[in-house]
């Protein structure tokens, strides 16, 4: 079903932030904001929740730590206790110090790559994906607010237009999207 979307363009992130604040206080829901760089403080205004990727990184790190420990215990203690200078590896704990560097590196490896892969998937940014920013200038010096009429049943298009008038936008564009 086609729905109507309003793209409001600003040339300054502070102006957009002030505009968003006043719109939200009037009960308008802002679907998204497109910007060429992170606008600090916009997330709580338009209701974007903080990401949980940090927790994911921690979990991936724990996985790496576990894999490294289990792996090295198997290779060096269980499967073939390597005998170095007449001192074979009888237990993991006794030889753990030698395993610290690899354990650390593998933990970092898993945490970093796990988080980055999750990030790319969550953002839906992968090689060959089509760009979705409404205007090519939003990656240069313009900031665009997206308002969907279907999110704002309480007010009609005219009312939203009136509210937008005072926010200091530079361009406004309306599109039917599927």
């Amino acid at each position: 079903m086609a729905e109507k979307v309003i793209y409001v363009m600003y040339d300054d992130e502070e102006v957009l932030k002030d505009g968003a604040k006043s719109l939200v206080s009037k009960g308008i829901k802002i679907a998204d904001v497109f910007s060429p760089f992170p606008i600090h403080g916009i997330d709580p205004i338009i209701g974007v929740k903080n990401t949980r990727l940090g927790i994911m990184a921690f979990l991936y790190g724990l996985t790496g730590l576990m894999l490294a420990t289990v792996g090295m215990r198997f290779f060096m203690v269980t499967d073939w206790p390597m005998n170095i200078g007449g001192k074979p590896n009888f237990s993991y704990l006794e030889n753990m110090l030698a395993f610290v560097p690899v354990t650390f590196e593998f933990t970092v490896l898993c945490a970093a790559h796990g988080m980055v892969i999750t990030y790319l998937l969550a953002n839906k940014t992968l090689p060959g994906m089509p760009a979705q920013n409404p205007d090519p200038r939003t990656t240069d010096d313009r900031f665009v607010m997206e308002i969907r009429l279907s999110d704002n049943h309480q007010s009609n298009e005219k009312e939203i237009d009136d509210l937008l008038k005072n926010t200091g936008f530079v361009e406004i564009d309306k599109k039917e999207i599927n």
């Binding site: 600090h40 990401t51 060959g128």
Partner: protein, 462 residues
């Protein structure tokens, strides 16, 4: 938007708008390459091809074509390896450690310093691989199930730790760099006029759209990656130093090695960043973004890490006498007065004396002087590794094993070749990639840009 003290020098000179920043960074990519670029690229390519030729000859003939012998089993190969890894430490230090410390000046140099890091670590990786002689069995360093019985790699060996350290460092630095590049590729994609360029940059930009949620995740990922990469930077060169420190060779068997190697790595890495940046800012017209203040900050890092390195040299020397171990004492006496005295004194002059000149404000703000010192430091740091490696092992416990190392032309060819390959990559980067972190520079424009800082209402509450 964050404001900063008025007495701080602005980080972005002139009257730039967001659009000007985009223009300044994208124009060199969109315009035709200058003639100078083709000349430099041609030279680098010829040197690189010569280096590849030497590597192919080496692999076909065996590592006997190097000047190595039974006593001196490690020489230029490992010297070059450690030198390149060291250079590869500045990029991630700048982008990770300085990000955690909220140093905004890093934004002017982090992109190209990280590119330099990745290419340098790549060059470093070549040396241990070709030193194996049989490159095609290089995958034996991985703990893979195999048909040789219960034969695993030795996790007690620092050489294996190095495999894990270098590969983790390379791959994490690469994704860290690329995560930052994605939004900037999107900027170039949205400006591109030619269909081929548009297609290429749209693949490279992964369909980045700059949604609020994307940026929220972007900032968290950058911060967490910086947090992960910071201990990584310190661990990698510590582990490289374990290659030496865990052995019982006099001159290598010292506990001072890990911190001393890390300081040396940062020292040489920043020197290489200076060498590259001073040329690049001029060639690409980026003087407004990388100006004297940035050069000065980097010179201060060079001065501090250079002083740490100098202190380490002198501590090492003192302890070799103080320990009362005559083999240790001899190793250091031999370094300073033996047949390789010239290498030792080149290292001392380049690394201990030259960074101390940076105490003088006039000198550390002089671009020409900085360029000169950056080259001196790079030469000095190469000699440091040569001194540590070759002079420590050319005298053995058994005098009949004493020997000298003379590099063969293949030694020289492979080394010079890696410099060529490095510059081929770096020149391609400077031609096709955004050399400044656009999206980061724009966030500090209002806080640290000259025209904004000098505006009368800068210090009023917004």
């Amino acid at each position: 938007m964050q404001k900063e003290a008025a007495i701080r020098e602005p980080l972005i000179l002139g009257h730039k708008s967001y659009h000007d920043v985009t223009e300044d960074v994208c124009r060199p990519i969109e315009d035709k390459a200058p003639r100078m670029w083709y000349i430099l690229f041609g030279i680098a390519l010829i040197i690189a091809l010569y280096g590849i030729g030497c590597i192919v000859y080496l692999l076909g003939t065996g590592i006997g074509v190097w000047g190595l012998n039974k006593t001196i089993g490690w020489a230029w190969d490992i010297t070059n390896f450690v030198w390149w890894v060291g250079i590869g430490h500045a990029g991630t230090l700048i982008s990770a450690v300085l990000l955690l410390f909220r140093q905004k000046w890093r934004m002017a140099i982090n992109r190209s310093a990280e590119a330099m890091t990745i290419f340098a670590v790549f060059m470093a990786g070549i040396f241990p691989l070709i030193h194996m002689g049989r490159l095609w069995v290089g995958y034996w360093v991985l703990p893979l199930p195999n048909q040789f019985g219960s034969l695993w790699v030795n996790f007690n060996s620092p050489l294996l730790w190095d495999v894990f350290a270098i590969s983790t460092y390379l791959s994490v630095s690469l994704v860290f760099w690329y995560i930052g590049l994605i939004p900037d590729f999107a900027t170039i994609r949205d400006r591109a006029k030619k269909p081929v360029a548009k297609k290429m940059y749209s693949i490279l930009s992964f369909g980045w759209s700059g949604r609020a949620k994307n940026w929220n995740r972007f900032e968290t990922v950058s911060l967490v990656l910086a947090g992960l990469a910071t201990p990584l930077v310190f661990s990698v060169h510590s582990i490289v130093s374990f290659d030496f420190a865990t052995s019982i060779v006099p001159g290598w068997h010292t506990t001072i090695f890990p911190p001393y190697f890390v300081a040396g790595a940062v020292f040489s890495g920043f020197a290489m960043v200076q060498t590259l940046m001073l040329v690049m800012r001029k060639a690409m017209g980026l003087e407004a973004y990388i100006h004297t203040k940035h050069i000065e900050y980097m010179n201060i890092v060079i001065m501090v890490t250079g002083s740490i390195v100098g202190t380490a040299y002198i501590t090492e020397l003192f302890i070799s006498w103080y320990s009362g171990v005559e083999y240790e004492a001899y190793a250091f006496l031999n370094r300073a007065t033996g047949p390789y005295w010239w290498a030792y004194w080149s290292m001392m002059t380049c690394n201990v004396i030259s960074p101390q000149l940076m105490w003088i404000r006039k000198l550390r703000r002089s671009l020409l002087f900085t360029f000169f010192i950056s080259i001196v430091v790079n030469i000095g740091m190469w000699f440091e590794r040569y001194v540590i490696i070759v002079t420590s092992i050319h005298r053995d416990y058994l005098p009949s094993a004493w020997s000298m190392h003379y590099p063969s032309h293949i030694d020289i060819g492979v080394y010079i070749g890696t410099i060529g390959i490095f510059f081929v990559f770096f020149l391609l980067f400077a031609r096709y990639f955004p050399v400044l972190a656009l999206n980061e520079i724009k966030t500090i424009l209002k806080g640290s840009g000259q025209s904004y800082k000098e505006a009368p209402d800068y210090h009023k509450h917004h």
